[in-house]
Amino acid sequence: MANLASNFVGIKSPNPFWLASAPPTDKAYNVVRAFKEGWGGVVWKTLGTDPPVVNVSGPRYGAIHAGDRRLIGLNNIELITDRPLEINLREIKEVKRDWPDRALVVSLMVPCEEHYWKDILAKVEDTGCDGVELNFGCPHGMSERGMGAAVGQVPEYVEMVTRWCKQHTRMPVIVKLTPNISDVRQPARAAHRGGADAVSLINTVNSIIGVDIDTFSPLPSIDGKGSHGGYCGPAVKPIALNMTAEIARDRETRGLPISGIGGITTWRDAVEFMALGAGNVQVCTAAMTYGFRIVKDMITGLSEYMDRHGFTSVDEITGRAVGNVTDWQYLNLNYVAKAKIDQDLCIKCGRCHIACEDTSHQAITAMVDGKRHFEVIDAECVGCNLCVNVCPVENCITMEEMVGGVDPRTGIAVTGDYANWTTHPNNPMAKPAVVVEPAE
């Protein structure tokens, strides 16, 4: 059993799995249940000023499902905590007292005036919690009141509020970023400039989850009307991974601790976020789908993984893939891979063929010698990987790197030499000769 202990900006937890600020962390009752199951920490659901907000009394969530109604995307129009500040603060204090080894970070969202932040920070600090997370991310409801994403979308505001918070508390300050922005590096840099100890991302993605095609109400429907909500769950993971990597490899923010959020459902997802620069991870939708018990698999899965790789600390995972994220222009255009179909595993569904035939490069047979047979035609295969992605059998189709020989599609020898777009003859902007790998 590997040691999963995590120290994220000085906040210690027995493992790097935290529950994100969200409905599962709105009350002591839920948080204590989570800690009993083994969660390393929680970010308490966002506190605001009194009187508390009110939530709709109709549906707050909408979902999209993959096969067999597996939930792959969830959206919500729930606001920050709708309980009085006093009750939340009391419960936070009690929980932290009872669970001193777990991380307890408190999410905050108050109007963009310094005194509000100063005031609430003092109250929160008094609970003995481990840190604060500034909610600059919620895309719905609160943003209409000038908070949440409305702040997160303006880097100057992000920097300003972060600076206030750093001035008014000794606690670590984590700035939670919204993905509803064209370049996530801008608010991340702003948070960094404001003195943030870390950023966390992503918050939810602005979305309409669906439309009732009989009543024509957007979903979830409140009395026949709908409003855009925050989208999360497995479907947003790729967006979150990219934003994590963008911040991790940015010159200005490199080294800034990141708490990874966005569709993390398994220990594998967590490892991916950490490899792209996250120091720990936060989970919500998976817990809301399956309950808190999933953390047991996350813990043992991560531990097994670390043992297999000889990692003795979770910090050894953090950032391992960052150096491999590059710009397209630096990808090796001399790298050649061909799809290969394992005929023993092939169940002959033909999906690879029709995907390739209809929509790609006509590189997979359907019939050979009068028999149903699916085989890659190397002379046509561009190595696009679509067949791998549509094949229902795991590892039946693999991409095999060509080492040496001649690519039968292009007639060009595979030398193993690196060459990218920056020097390619078709590139009007090509730089002469010297091949430079980017520093980051």
Binding site: R69, I347, G350
Partner: protein
């Protein structure tokens, strides 16, 4: 040995047991089950299941239509290729057709339940609208006679009506439906489904059914050929193969096909006599149907005896297992040698054991005897050539059945044939439906030329 009077009795079961024993053998899928199962389909390219379906239903498409909440569209996909898709969903040996070919069978040994999904979609259409989804083309003024209102005839008639032709079905029995109504096991199509489907098929319009009109008895092929623009023969196999043993006309020696027909038509199954000890001779679907139904009527011992091994049986492996799980004993490699008779009633069968030598079946000389109160002959049915009356000489037969070409044309101009009476392959409901449709399209081309 047998008692002096045979043990043949009615009402062997408690009254409510009959309903239980003859209810749906495969309960239909509920909405949730259908969605879960539909989700398993991979939507294969050039799908093997479609190739394995005699009526070439676009199975991946109809399953996808179930999945997207379009069951009526799904049913139309099915019925456009197979107007008896509802019955075929119930009676097709899917384990040797579409489901055997399903790639999931290769992947994990658990094919998509295509038959049950097909039933789901067709049931939704029948239950929700019951409406005929196919409009008729403008009337052509052409008239086609269809002999036999079974699966082949109904399929042909429906397709011809769709194309705007007027059709008269001549059926020998009181009810149309053929083996769907009189033949298949009761628990495969309970609740009057066969007649409901006949009504559904006929609801397209343009089809008249003349009941109680048998070819060779009430009507002649030569007359039909003269009176109609085309004739389709789909009268099935009226003859039953005999054992060629002394005593097979005596009480207790029964023809399985006739008994099943009586069973299917019985208003009250408790009034149907069944033997205490039943011996079934044969290894096909009919043999299994009569064996299992005898058992479910309350027979104490039912033994099926087949002259070859299990792999040669006409009944699919699934059907053989069905027999076994119903308590039917199946004995292989034995052929009937002599019927034992007591007091003018069959009392048992003496069998000779057989063996295969270089592909030929030989008797080994060893014998055994099975006492029986009822002995069912289920060794196949035959075309009665005499029914083709004056034309019998002219219409060419092949292996005792009517020879047809790819378009189901017989050797007689203007006469098509399909279903069990035609030499087109397996005697399956779904194959008969395919024959009917193919013949109808050919007739339509001929009449449009």
């Amino acid at each position: 040995m047998a008692t002096t009077s045979p043990d043949i009795a009615t009402g062997r079961l408690a009254p409510d047991q009959y309903a239980a024993n003859f209810s749906d053998i495969h309960p239909p899928l509920g909405d949730h089950e259908a969605l879960v199962e539909a989700d398993r389909c991979y939507f294969c390219y050039d799908a093997p299941c479609v190739k394995a379906c005699p009526t070439s239903i676009d199975i991946p498409l109809f399953i996808r239509q179930i999945l997207t909440g379009n069951p009526i569209g799904s049913a139309e996909t099915i019925l456009s290729q197979n107007i008896l898709g509802g019955m075929c969903a119930r009676v097709c040996p899917t384990e040797t057709l579409c489901e055997e070919a399903c790639v999931r069978e290769e992947a994990e040994g658990k094919p998509v339940k295509i038959g049950l999904l097909q039933r789901y979609a067709t049931d939704v259409l029948m239950d929700e609208t019951g409406e005929q989804p196919f409009p008729r083309a403008a009337a052509t003024g052409k008239r086609v006679a269809v002999v036999g209102g079974g699966p082949a005839g109904l399929s042909a008639a429906h397709r011809l009506a769709m194309h705007g032709h007027d059709v008269v079905i001549y059926d020998a029995r009181e009810k149309a439906g053929g083996l769907n109504e009189y033949g298949i096991a009761a628990y495969k199509a309970p609740d009057g489904f066969a007649q409901a489907e006949v009504e559904f098929v006929l609801s397209i319009g343009g089809i008249t059914v003349e009941h109680g009109k048998a070819l060779g008895r009430d009507i002649a092929l030569s007359e039909l050929s003269q009176a109609y623009d085309a004739v389709f023969l789909g009268m099935g196999l009226a003859g039953v193969n005999a054992l060629a043993l002394d005593g097979e006309d005596l009480p207790g020696a029964m023809d399985a096909v006739g008994y099943i027909a009586d069973l299917r038509q019985a208003a009250d199954l408790s009034t149907l006599p069944v033997g205490g000890r039943v011996v079934v001779i044969g290894g096909g679907m009919t043999a299994v149907d009569v064996a299992v139904q005898s058992k479910r009527l309350g027979a104490k011992e039912v033994t099926m005896v087949y002259r070859r091994g299990p792999e040669k049986m006409g009944a699919s492996r699934y059907e053989q297992e069905l027999a076994a799980t119903n308590g039917v004993v199946i004995r292989h490699y034995a052929k009937p040698a002599r019927l034992l008779v007591e007091n003018g009633h069959v009392a048992g069968v003496e069998f000779e054991e057989t063996a295969e030598r270089e592909g030929r079946l030989i008797g080994t000389g060893a014998t055994f005897t099975l006492p029986a109160d009822m002995v069912f002959k289920a060794i196949g049915q035959t075309l009665v050539p005499a029914a083709l009356n004056s034309s019998a000489a002219a219409i060419v037969l092949e292996g005792g059945k009517i020879r047809v070409d790819d378009e189901r044309r017989t050797s007689l101009p203007g006469v098509w044939a399909g279903g069990d009476c035609a030499a087109t392959g397996e005697d399956l409901t779904v194959a008969a439906v395919a024959d009917g449709r193919i013949a109808a399209e050919s007739i339509h081309r001929a009449l449009s030329a």
